[in-house]
């Protein structure tokens, strides 16, 4: 009977095209508004590396001002990051930080340009499952020996080498030659979990080099640097020795045992540092996996929850309208419902028939809502603009499309419950006589 009822639903739509289209439009507008906000929240707050987010941990060491109760810092000092890196106690670990530089293309037709790069250790690429189009990342030896190797983003490779396999080629950066050993495939985790305090929705870096070069070459930092006390002295070395935090530090730990052992290790390290006069606060170190980290750092702006509420209210208003329209439509079919009862339909079958009709309206509303949501999201991209944040990730995907359709059908069927109940409880005798 399902397909029979579906056909009846389509015929019913054709009988009252204006009323039915109004319902579809009401559902579509409500669903579109809700799904635009949902898509933003879903993408912004989603798990950027779901297959191993529970194994990747941001390291928090609370070296902050003992005279305040402010939150612990999000990044590490050079001293601590290097101590943890050299200890190598995790399965994988990397300090990393953003820097800026200038590339001088060999191609005389291209002018030198600025880029944003990242210094990282060799583990950065396997830890975060960074995909490669050509070549690979560098080895631990390259870190240790400060080899002048680099990995390019897909876009930078496109710009410098027209997208060709550039592994083995060299580029000139800040007046020095660097050998290309790898080119990334498209990689833009959203949010950019490994560096949320420097723009979680910024685009990824264009170029990667062994982290040691950042210090050795005193490359210009391109991220937040926070200090709670004055730097003791002048010059770069004084900065490195200071309590200023500017390095993101991540470890990969394969199970709960490794996590517990690593926490013990960093607690032990801080206790040791306390004896040297550092870490004035009570022990407050922690490991946060990716999702815990995004939550702690409140990556989703507060406005999103207000927007969600507004969108849900708009959806509710649209569904209330739909209830009224469905009521008008179903009660307008009283004679048909009466005739069907006379011909042998029981209330249950009439209820199912009209649930399917409401679901059919919801399906059409969902499809139209998807189209509106698509254009709505394009509008959001224009509003935000790429100067404010990278917006390429704002798009509908398969789970969102399925959610939209399901939400439209379910909400319309729920909205239809009262009109259906009313329609199925008419006195057929009255309507059969007065058609």
């Amino acid at each position: 009977m399902f397909f029979y009822y579906l056909r009846l639903a389509a015929l019913s739509y054709r009988r009252n095209p204006i009323l039915s289209s109004l319902m579809v439009l009401a559902v579509a507008v409500g669903i579109a508004a809700y799904m635009i906000v949902f898509t933003l929240n879903y993408t912004m707050g989603g798990d950027p590396i779901p297959h191993k987010s529970s194994q990747l941990f941001a390291v928090q060491l609370d070296n902050w001002d003992p005279n305040t109760d402010s939150d612990p810092p999000q990044q590490l000092t050079y001293t601590d990051a290097m101590a943890l890196q050299q200890a190598g106690r995790a399965w994988r670990q990397t300090a990393s930080s953003k820097f800026s530089g200038i590339v001088e293309p060999d191609n005389p037709e291209l002018r030198p340009f600025m880029f944003i790069g990242r210094g990282a250790y060799a583990d950065f690429f396997p830890m975060f499952d960074v995909p490669f189009q050509y070549g690979s990342g560098w080895s631990a030896d390259a870190d240790a020996n400060l080899e002048q190797v680099t990995v390019l983003s897909r876009d930078l490779n496109e710009r410098l080498f027209g997208g060709a396999n550039s592994v083995g080629e060299t580029i000139t950066m800040d007046g020095t030659q660097w050998q290309v050993i790898g080119v990334l495939d498209r990689w833009d985790p959203v949010p950019k979990f490994y560096d949320v305090n420097n723009g979680p929705f910024d685009s990824g870096e264009e170029l990667y080099i062994p982290w040691g070069h950042v210090v050795a070459r005193e490359l210009p930092r391109s991220g937040n640097t926070n200090c709670w006390t004055a730097i003791g002295g002048s010059g770069f070395q004084a900065f490195l020795n200071s309590e200023c935090v500017w390095i993101q530090y991540w470890v990969e730990l394969r199970d709960a045992n490794e996590e517990a052992e690593y926490l013990d290790f960093i607690n032990g390290y801080v206790q040791e540092q306390k004896t040297l006069g550092r870490f004035g606060r009570p022990l407050n170190n922690a490991l946060y996996d990716v999702n815990e980290w995004l939550l702690k750092e409140e990556v989703l702006p507060d406005e999103t929850s207000i927007l969600s509420m507004l969108a849900a209210m708009l959806l509710a208003v649209c569904l209330l309208n739909t209830i009224g329209l469905l009521l008008a439509k179903f009660l307008g079919k009283s004679a048909e419902i009466g005739a069907r009862q006379a011909l042998g339909a029981h209330k249950g079958s009439l209820f199912i028939q009209h649930m399917i009709e409401a679901g059919f309206i919801g399906l059409l509303g969902g499809l139209l809502g998807l189209l509106l949501a698509h254009y709505g999201l394009e509008g959001v991209k224009i509003l935000l603009g790429n100067e404010l944040m990278m917006t390429d990730w704002i798009q509908l995907n398969v789970p969102i499309v399925i959610t939209t359709i399901a939400l439209a059908i379910v909400s319309t069927v729920i909205a239809g419950l009262y009109p259906i109940w009313r329609a199925c409880n008419i006195n057929p005798a009255i309507h059969l006589k007065t058609q």
């Binding site: 015929l11 042998g344 339909a345 209330k347 249950g348 005798a429 058609q435």
Partner: protein
């Protein structure tokens, strides 16, 4: 076949009670053609709706084909209606979106028959009312008389034992009405029991048994041309 004993139907509102039927007793035997007449508001349609299980009654007893219907739930009443009763209405009550084939198909759908079982039954029913060639037409493409013929085909397609007709000729001109009556008589001669409500005394006189209702009670009965006066017409 149909046995009503002391049926009462009272419509209540906050202010008034209306007795649509009072101590209404009637027995209809298999194969009879009974017409029900009476002035507007006398309870004819209420009787027909109760007989067709579309309405409940306030008190009394009603057995349809040996089944006491008062205790039946909605599902069982619908099943009984579907299997034993065919309805014909004054305003035809065809589904405007469905073609003739699909209109006649409706009661068979609720019976749960397969498409291969339904198709020959529908074709036969439409053929019996002379509309086999117009199966794909919509009701709006037919005249009133033709629409009523479709309604008759729909009522008969499930081979019910009992046909209830509420003013089946009320919306038709006299010639067309005559054709519909002849069709009903043919159906009756083939064994289907018919109870027909009508205002038309001419048509009522042609039936073998006529019940006249007044103020919710059987006022007189005229069977096989013989007049009798009775408040109760239990056969």
């Amino acid at each position: 076949m149909l046995e009503m004993i002391d049926i009462c139907k009272v419509y209540r509102t906050d202010l008034v009670q209306t007795h649509a039927l009072r101590d209404f007793s009637l027995s209809v035997q298999e194969g009879e053609f009974v017409t029900i007449t009476g002035p507007s508001g006398c309870g004819k349609t209420t009787f027909l709706n109760i007989a067709g299980l579309l309405e409940t009654y306030t008190s009394g007893s009603y057995q349809l084909d040996g089944v006491e219907v008062s205790q039946l739930n909605d599902f069982k009443r619908a099943r009984l209606r579907n299997e034993k009763i065919g309805f014909i209405f004054q305003s035809f009550n065809l589904m405007p979106d469905l073609n003739l084939f699909d209109n006649v198909d409706v009661p068979l759908r609720y019976r749960g028959l397969k498409a291969s079982e339904r198709k020959p039954l529908i074709e036969k029913a439409l053929e019996s009312v002379g509309l086999a060639g117009r199966m794909k037409h919509l009701p709006s493409q037919l005249s009133g008389g033709q629409q009523q013929r479709v309604a008759i085909a729909r009522a008969l397609v499930g081979s019910p034992r009992f046909l209830l007709a509420d003013e089946p000729t009320g919306n038709l001109d006299s010639n067309t009405a005559r054709g519909v009556m002849e069709l009903l008589q043919e159906i009756n001669e083939l064994g289907t029991t018919i109870v027909m409500v009508t205002h038309d005394q001419e048509l009522a006189r042609e039936s073998r048994r006529n019940i006249h209702i007044l103020d919710g009670q059987i006022h007189e009965e005229n069977g096989r041309g013989e007049m009798s006066s009775s408040a109760s017409a239990v056969a």
